[in-house]
């Protein structure tokens, strides 16, 4: 017996009639007659919860969720709207400082209760849907949850997915409960699964977990570790390099390595048989440093707010791309703005094959001091980006790099106008500045974003342009503009659609000064484009 809502008046009936007519107009169920492979193309575009849910539509759909080849299971899907309202309330009140301590504790308590309850649901429905459910052929599995007492099922699930399903691509992300930072998910001591040697695992990403033993996964080629606890010994990290010899990509993000007293440790990478091609060390502030001794296949390396050094006697013949992002912003800000990074500390002599180089300044290490023995360290460098240079700092220092890179083709410089130090004090660079640059016979493109037309900026542009020859095609200076990164080693300069409105006087003065250094056009060398925007 259907209950009728008493509030439904004539408007509701008209709507129903309308819907019935519309439905009659297309009575055919077109979607259910599509072949399975097309329905899977549709389901793959839905979140896992919605895709699983289509199983109840009709018998036609019942088997489709069992065939999903990717599952993305997040605790967030289990958290009710009330949870999010509490979190919002808490954050809002904290930012305004209007909450009494006792009330704040009470809210945190409720929020954590929601998390625990959702985690129980996560555990029980994981068991009924997947551990006790039909055997699946899932290739990609992602689990994201909060560390509570209920996470034992995660380990059982991971083992099942790897041993029985043959998962190739696994991501396990453990988070701390609300406002805490210390939640770490523990894997069993014997490892992730029962039969690592026959595992299909190719890609593994772990977040907020202990580091399991990985050397038996003979197909593992991509490993991304995030938030591995500080208590992890240096040998565990070193073992990844020396024991997981099939790895090609390794990212260490916010990982730590300290003694029990909190003294950070050095990790030494010495693996002459390693196949690692890509190494990213990102915000690993709790590594004292990572010393690279031997990684013969290394092609790309990025050190982002982390200390990575190359052993001076070693060589990295395959290394062609490098990203060097400096900045240990926390706590150091304002302590020593003139912190110098010796050119020698950039280890260019170990990496002469570099073709593409990104240098970013996001912290106090904004300075590069000349090396004691300048030489042609970067003979193969083709693309150079120097980014986030504070506007008050002497922008002419990249000449140091230009001196070392006679074959440069593309030079991009980005001056950070927004986040730069207030320009109450212009900070000069001590190196000799009246000397001309060595010729840059292959330089094609020179772009400066964040160009304000200061004397020093014009000086730099003139200096570079004078060193150019017939290869030069474009010199562009944009007041507004920024860098868009495509991964760690590739980028493009984004220039605004609408140009800055320079006054006629400024414009002609800047252009005149620069154009006089531009190589003359001839039959073989087309006209050089000079843009001020």
């Amino acid at each position: 017996m259907a209950r009728r809502s008493s509030g439904k008046g004539s408007a509701g009936r008209i709507l129903l009639q309308h819907r019935a007519l519309a439905a009659a107009a297309r009575r055919v169920d077109r979607i259910s007659s599509l072949p399975d492979d097309l329905l899977h193309l549709v389901l793959r575009r839905l979140d896992t919860r919605s895709a699983l849910g289509t199983g109840v539509l009709s018998r036609r759909w019942a088997h489709l969720p069992r065939e999903l080849d990717a599952l993305d299971l997040r605790l967030a899907d289990m958290l009710p709207p009330r949870y999010h309202r509490w979190v919002h309330l808490y954050n809002d009140a904290c930012s305004k400082g209007t909450l009494r301590h006792a009330v704040r504790l009470q809210i945190v308590h409720s929020i954590r209760r929601y998390e625990r309850r959702a985690m129980r649901a996560f555990a029980s429905s994981t068991v009924t849907s997947f551990l006790e459910g039909p055997r699946r052929n899932v290739k990609k599995l992602r689990l994201e949850f909060v560390v509570t007492g209920n996470t034992g099922c995660v380990n059982a699930f991971v083992a099942e997915a790897m041993d029985a399903w043959g998962v190739e691509d696994l991501e396990v992300v453990a988070k701390s409960t609300f406002t805490r930072r210390d939640g770490i998910h523990l894997f069993p001591s014997h490892g992730l699964c029962e039969q690592p040697r026959v595992s299909c695992l190719r890609s593994l990403k772990l977040g907020g977990c202990t580091l399991p033993s990985l050397h038996e996964y003979s197909r593992l080629s991509v490993l991304i570790l995030k938030g591995i606890p500080k208590s992890t010994p240096a040998a565990a990290y070193e073992g990844i390099f020396t024991l997981c010899l099939q790895l090609q990509t390794l990212h260490l993000i916010s990982c730590g390595c300290c003694t029990s007293r909190g003294v950070s440790l050095t990790v030494v990478v010495d693996s002459p048989s390693s196949q690692i091609r890509e190494l990213v060390v990102d915000k690993c502030e709790f590594f004292r440093k990572l010393v690279l001794k031997a990684l013969p296949c290394l092609e790309s390396v990025a050190s982002i707010q982390s200390r990575v050094s190359f052993e001076s006697t070693s060589s990295f013949p395959c290394l062609i791309q490098r990203n060097l992002t400096m900045g240990f912003a926390v706590g150091l800000l304002g302590v020593d703005w003139r912190l110098e990074l010796e050119l020698d500390d950039m280890f260019f002599d170990c990496t002469p094959g570099i073709r593409s180089l990104v240098i970013r300044f996001t912290g106090p290490e904004r300075w590069i001091a000349p090396s004691t023995s300048p030489s042609e360290f970067l003979p193969n460098l083709r693309r150079l980006l120097v980014a986030d240079v504070p506007s008050s700092w002497d922008v002419t220092w990249p000449r140091l790099l230009l001196e070392m890179a006679p074959n440069l083709e593309i030079l991009h410089i980005h001056i950070d106008v927004v986040h730069g130090v207030p320009a109450d004090e212009d900070i000069p660079w001590s190196s000799a500045r009246d000397r001309e640059l060595r010729p840059l016979p292959r330089l094609k493109e020179f772009v400066v974003a964040g160009f304000e037309g200061t004397a020093r900026q014009i000086y730099l542009v003139k200096l570079v342009v004078r060193a150019c020859t017939a290869a030069l095609r474009l010199v562009a200076m944009f007041r507004n503009g920024h860098v868009r990164y495509r991964g760690h080693w590739d980028w493009e300069m984004v220039t605004p659609r609408e140009h800055y409105s320079w006054s006629d006087e400024q414009k002609s003065s800047v252009l005149e000064q620069i154009k006089c250094g531009v190589p003359a056009s001839s039959a073989t060398a087309p006209v050089v484009q000079v843009v001020l925007g």
């Binding site: 819907r19 439905a23 297309r26 009575r27 055919v28 169920d29 077109r30 979607i31 259910s32 599509l34 072949p35 097309l38 193309l41 549709v42 389901l43 793959r44 575009r45 839905l46 896992t48 919860r49 919605s50 699983l52 849910g53 289509t54 199983g55 109840v56 539509l57 009709s58 018998r59 036609r60 759909w61 019942a62 969720p65 289990m78 958290l79 009710p80 009330r82 309850r117 959702a118 649901a121 029980s124 429905s125 009924t128 849907s129 997947f130 459910g133 691509d169 991501e171 890609s203 990403k205 991509v222 991304i224 090609q248 990509t249 990212h251 091609r277 890509e278 495509r486 991964g487 590739d490």
Partner: protein
């Protein structure tokens, strides 16, 4: 003799001109003819590419008996629009599969292209794209269908697509149990 020779030459030139033609003609199930850029057809459809390479394209209109004129018009329209659109930037050459979008999102014009279609025309186009092996167009149309399902309850989805629920009460209970992950609600 001379006349014949001239004729032969003219024939030859005509053939060359046809081989060089930059469009192909397609014929729908109801006999309507459509011209489409040869380059775009070969690039976007594996089936048409095979036919062009194999020389089985008919100048008077290649028969596509499975495709109605409305759907074929949309296919042709899509190919021609694609031929004129600027290819988007190359994908990021990162070796990491996690956290990158597994599908290339439809471009703005592709979205608009499928948004204007009626319910039936959309499904006709999916079927045509499937028949012609047009991977990109399948991506775009399936994306649209998934958008029509997003954020909807099973009842709402049944209504949108006119799906008849043929489960018995017991069967439904059983499948909901199996799919517990999707049906947890606080």
């Amino acid at each position: 003799m001379e006349v014949d020779k001239g004729k032969g030459e003219a024939e030859e030139t005509r053939k060359v001109a046809e081989a060089d033609r930059d469009t192909v003609t397609l014929k729908s199930s109801d006999g309507k003819l459509f011209e489409v850029s040869k380059e775009a057809a070969a690039r976007l459809s594996t089936v048409l590419a095979g036919m062009i390479a194999g020389g089985s394209i008919d100048d008077n209109g290649t028969d596509l008996k499975q495709i109605g004129s409305e759907a074929l018009e949309n296919v042709v329209d899509y190919c021609n629009k694609h031929a004129n659109s600027i290819p988007s930037a190359a994908l990021i050459s990162s070796s990491i599969s996690f956290n990158t979008a597994p599908f290339k999102e439809p471009e703005e014009w592709e979205r608009k292209f499928v948004d204007r279609l009626s319910h039936d025309a959309l499904f006709d186009l999916v079927e045509a794209a499937n028949f012609l092996g047009m991977e990109r167009l399948l991506d775009v149309t399936c994306h649209k269908i998934s958008e029509m399902m997003k954020g909807k309850s099973p009842d709402q989805i049944r209504e949108v697509f006119n799906i008849k629920n043929d489960y018995t009460k017991e069967e439904l209970e059983e499948i909901r149990q199996e799919l517990a992950w999707a049906f947890y609600d606080d």
